[in-house]
């Protein structure tokens, strides 16, 4: 088993309104950052897990996203895998 680190970006689908993003954009604009055209707010997860290989890690992470971490009605996700150097090859 190896240890993998992963980053998961969870974003609201384009068709879903994002009041938090809208509010941030307003706030930035009030602060003088009028050049900001759009802000969208999502979630960022860092998950550390062990798996036999990269493929397995990726599969598991996708599963977790489908089942729990993201809600397909409103969200999309992207999983990026980083094999953690130091901790690799822990049994």
């Amino acid at each position: 088993m190896k240890t993998y680190q992963s980053k998961i970006e969870i974003t609201l689908k384009k068709s879903v309104l994002d009041p938090q993003g809208t509010q941030l954009q307003h706030a930035l604009s009030n602060m003088g950052y009028e050049s900001v055209a759009d802000v969208r707010v999502g979630k960022f997860l860092e998950v550390t897990l062990s798996a036999a290989n990269e493929a397995e890690a990726q599969t598991k992470l996708n599963e977790m996203c489908d089942k729990l971490l993201a809600n397909p009605v409103i969200e999309e996700y992207k999983v990026e895998l980083i094999e953690s150097g130091a901790a690799a090859n822990v049994s």
């Binding site: 509010q23 089942k67 809600n71």
Partner: protein, 238 residues
């Protein structure tokens, strides 16, 4: 023979309206209640199940997201299929959405703030076991208390929801008009509560259990409990 329905009230770690629901059912309406811990796998011999409000599992990540994986939720699915009454209030509604028993999802309130106040609801569907004692269009004054009650459903599905008469309550003003100003959270089409196609699964953000005594500001929630009693009575008589 007693026509009283029996109800299960689920308790998840983080549920906090469980006692309020128990109190309303058993103390106010004398409906036998069984508190069911989320790790159990059976609801037992009940006619309905109430999933109370609160912050199950802290509502971390998304409201209701973790709770729906609790062992008891399979029994809830079964009860729904069997046509028993399944009633989700606030966090209970969110759990029903996450578990797919009702369509759609919850977003954060458009104010980005938790909101606790009395709101008005217009009854859209009085054909459910929970609303049979209400008149269509009847306005109820019932409190909301939530941070994520901004109901969302994609447009085509929303059409379907409407044409199936699945919208049960909408936020409205004193006169029953569904204005943007009377929407406490930005939910689509002012939706406050919906049911499944069969009408036996109801999810709603407002808290009728908090509106069973004028001393607490409103007794408009009583009619929902009275509907449940009536429904069971009819079942027994038939």
């Amino acid at each position: 023979m007693s026509a009283k329905p029996k109800f299960a009230v689920l308790v998840f770690p983080g549920s906090n309206c469980d006692h309020d629901c128990e109190y309303a059912l058993s103390e106010v309406f004398d409906i036998p209640v069984k508190m069911v811990w989320h790790k159990e796998t059976s609801l037992g011999d009940v006619d309905g199940v109430l999933i109370p409000g609160g912050f199950s599992y802290g509502d971390y990540l998304r409201t209701g997201a973790v709770a729906r994986f609790s062992p008891i939720m399979e029994a809830v699915q079964e009860a729904a299929v069997k046509g028993k009454m399944v009633w989700g209030i606030c966090n209970g509604f969110q759990i029903l959405l996450e578990s797919g028993l009702l369509p759609g999802a919850m977003l954060r309130n458009d104010s980005l703030k938790f909101v606790c106040k009395h709101v008005n609801l217009r009854t859209e569907n009085n054909q459910t076991p929970f609303t049979s004692e209400l008149k269509k269009g009847e306005v109820l004054n019932i409190p909301v208390a939530h941070g994520e009650g901004n109901y969302f459903l994609e447009e085509d599905k929303l059409k379907e929801l409407n044409s199936n008469n699945q919208v049960v309550f909408r936020y409205c003003d004193d006169n029953g008009e569904t204005r943007a100003a009377s929407n406490p959270n930005g939910s689509v089409e002012n939706i406050a509560g919906i049911c499944n196609k069969e009408g036996n699964v109801l999810g709603m953000m407002p808290h009728p259990e908090r509106a069973c005594d004028v001393l607490l500001g409103s007794a408009d929630g009583r009619k929902m409990f009275e509907s449940i009693l009536k429904t069971s009575l009819e079942k027994v008589c038939n």
